[in-house]
């Protein structure tokens, strides 16, 4: 798609593009290429010299049990958040889609958590589930469960899943609602005339017609858990206890910063880049097409 009427100027378009391209090169391409280059280097303990070691950093990385654990943690975390936030959002959206009084009010009351920073969401949830003073931990403890997300890795993960899901429901709700409203009413009426009840209509008509939205939201939620939950993890668990809630992104951060192992951190960055490229490709291949070039 191109414009019929355009301006002709030799220099102006370049000047207009200059700010964005300059920032893109300085802060995106240059660091990304540095990350790739660094992933093939090994620094000595004092960071004074470095030598080219080929795929050594990658090989060491894949020999670390911690790296596999981070992969598993990330997979568990994103699966749990995706399932939980999508099913809650779909349930709420399918109810909000009915002709209700205060429909708009409910919508407003459900979408605002989108605006809460992931780290703040984490703080709110740790306050509720704090082992000593948490208001929700008390009933859990009276049930005889020794609830302590600071020492027990499973409890920590459950808390992270709750905090991350809480924030993501609003986004998924909004898109499910838009998806539901786009389904032609005639299809549903036809099914009703044929005698299909509400549940049957939902599973045989509405849900299949929503599948593009669902698929899109799965990808978005996975991307969210991969990258944006960094703040949640840092506020709630700091990757602990004993590194058990360290995700792939959190490990890039902690290996480079706390461990000072920049070569390994860079190699992990490169692997993450490949994952992002994969996810983006899936998003564009199977979901909506963003570009028509």
């Amino acid at each position: 798609m191109e414009k019929r009427a355009i301006f002709s100027s030799k220099t102006l378009p370049y000047l207009l593009l200059l700010p964005q391209l300059a920032i893109t090169f300085i802060f995106f391409y240059w660091p990304a290429s540095q990350a790739i280059w660094q992933s093939f280097l090994l620094e000595d303990a004092f960071g004074l010299s470095s030598e080219f070691v080929g795929f050594e950093n990658y090989r060491t990385l894949f020999e670390q049990p911690e790296y596999y654990r981070a992969m598993v943690t990330t997979a568990v975390f994103s699966t749990a958040v995706a399932i939980l936030s999508l099913s809650c959002a779909l349930l709420l959206a399918s109810q909000a889609d009915k002709q209700l009084r205060f429909g708009q009010g409910y919508k407003t009351l459900l979408i605002w958590p989108y605006a809460v920073a992931p780290a703040i969401a984490g703080v709110l949830w740790i306050f509720m589930f704090h082992p000593t003073l948490g208001m929700v931990s008390r009933p859990i403890k009276t049930m005889g469960i020794d609830w302590n997300p600071m020492l027990n890795a499973n409890h920590a993960m459950i808390l992270l899943v709750f905090a991350a899901t809480w924030k993501q429901i609003s986004y998924n709700f909004l898109f499910f609602l838009a998806g539901l409203q786009a389904i032609p009413k005639s299809v549903i009426e036809a099914a009703a005339i044929d005698g299909a009840g509400p549940l049957r209509r939902f599973w045989t008509i509405v849900f299949p017609l929503l599948s593009p939205t669902t698929f899109f939201l799965i990808v978005v939620t996975v991307v969210y858990v991969f990258f944006e939950t960094f703040g949640t993890i840092d506020a709630v668990t700091g990757g602990g206890p004993a590194g058990q809630t360290t995700t792939l992104v959190y490990k890039v951060y902690s290996d480079g910063r706390l461990g000072g192992d920049l070569g390994s951190s860079a190699a992990q960055s490169v692997i993450l880049m490949l994952i992002v490229i994969g996810l983006t490709a899936i998003q564009f291949r199977y979901v909506e097409r963003k570009v028509q070039y």
Binding site: P31, W112, L124, S269
Partner: protein, 282 residues
């Protein structure tokens, strides 16, 4: 509605009300905690009704900060967050509207290349290039500056894609008419294109303000001085998880204050927010 079943409506109200309560409960607790004193909270005796310490807590939080940490006041952290969020929102809109204008309304060699160079940045979020970007910002002497907080985050493909998509829907006749009237590129941009794009600009602004306000990893990396901290970073430093001395009433007051600006933006500019959210994801 195909059939009218009273129980179905009742179920809808029930499910939505429970949903709203679950969504609101964590924030409600934070608001309650911000009105109680430290002892009540740490004893675990906090009730579900507001206490009487709100004035003290909000005053101390905004103007003094916690007693133990460096004592940075949350008021100044919020100023930092605000400058950062506004800078990111305005910066992103400015550079992306210019580049979209170039890509749509000019024909020049490397046009597609330029577009793809911008487009690929979608695949390079800050998290995958943390330390190299940090190093560049450090080399440029931009650690602990607003420029360092804002500049690296304003380049992204979303804005350019959004404006490009919108410009494509602007009828060609408008440009032809302006040209006949003797308007140049700058004139057309200022007098025709910008006024037409106002809603798109506002929608993008809302989304980018929230994005900027909620940034975590980047300010965490490049701010070392406590006077440059943003509020989202500041709150994390108040929670020393193993420490019984965490001043929870101040931390929760900070949480409420930190949530307030972006949440208000979503509630009062809901139409623009929804538009921005849906269109940046298209």
């Amino acid at each position: 509605m195909v059939e009218n079943r009273p129980y179905a409506k009742f179920l809808a109200y029930l499910v939505l009300t429970i949903g709203v309560i679950i969504v609101a409960f964590p924030v409600y607790l934070a608001v309650i905690a911000s009105t109680n004193d430290s002892a009540t909270i740490s004893n675990g005796n906090m009730s579900l009704l507001p206490g009487d310490q709100a004035g003290v807590n909000y005053y101390r939080t905004l103007f003094q900060g916690t007693a133990r940490t460096s004592g940075e006041a949350v008021g100044s952290m919020m100023v930092n967050s605000f400058i950062m969020a506004m800078g990111i929102a305005f910066g992103k809109i400015l550079i992306s509207i210019l580049s979209a204008f170039a890509v749509v309304y000019f024909n020049f060699p490397f046009r597609k290349t330029a577009f793809w160079i911008i487009f690929i940045t979608l695949m390079l979020p800050v998290e995958v290039r943390i330390y190299p970007t940090y190093k560049i910002v450090a080399d440029l002497g931009m650690l602990d500056t607003y420029t360092g907080l804002i500049l690296p985050l304003i380049a992204s493909a979303t804005g350019t894609l959004l404006f490009r998509q919108f410009f494509m829907t602007v009828p060609d006749e408008l440009l032809e008419a302006s040209k006949i009237d003797g308007a140049g590129a700058f004139r057309f941009f200022k007098d025709t294109l910008i006024p037409l794009s106002i809603t798109t600009i506002a929608a993008l602004f809302v989304i980018q303000f929230i994005y900027g306000w909620n940034q975590y990893l980047w300010p965490l990396l490049i701010t070392t001085k406590s006077s440059m901290q943003t509020v989202v970073i500041g709150i994390k430093k108040m929670l020393t998880t193993q420490d019984v001395l965490t001043e929870w009433q101040i931390a929760m007051t900070t949480a409420v204050l930190a949530m307030l600006p972006p949440v208000l933006v979503v509630i009062f500019m809901q139409r623009l927010f929804v538009k921005g959210l849906v269109e940046t994801e298209k």
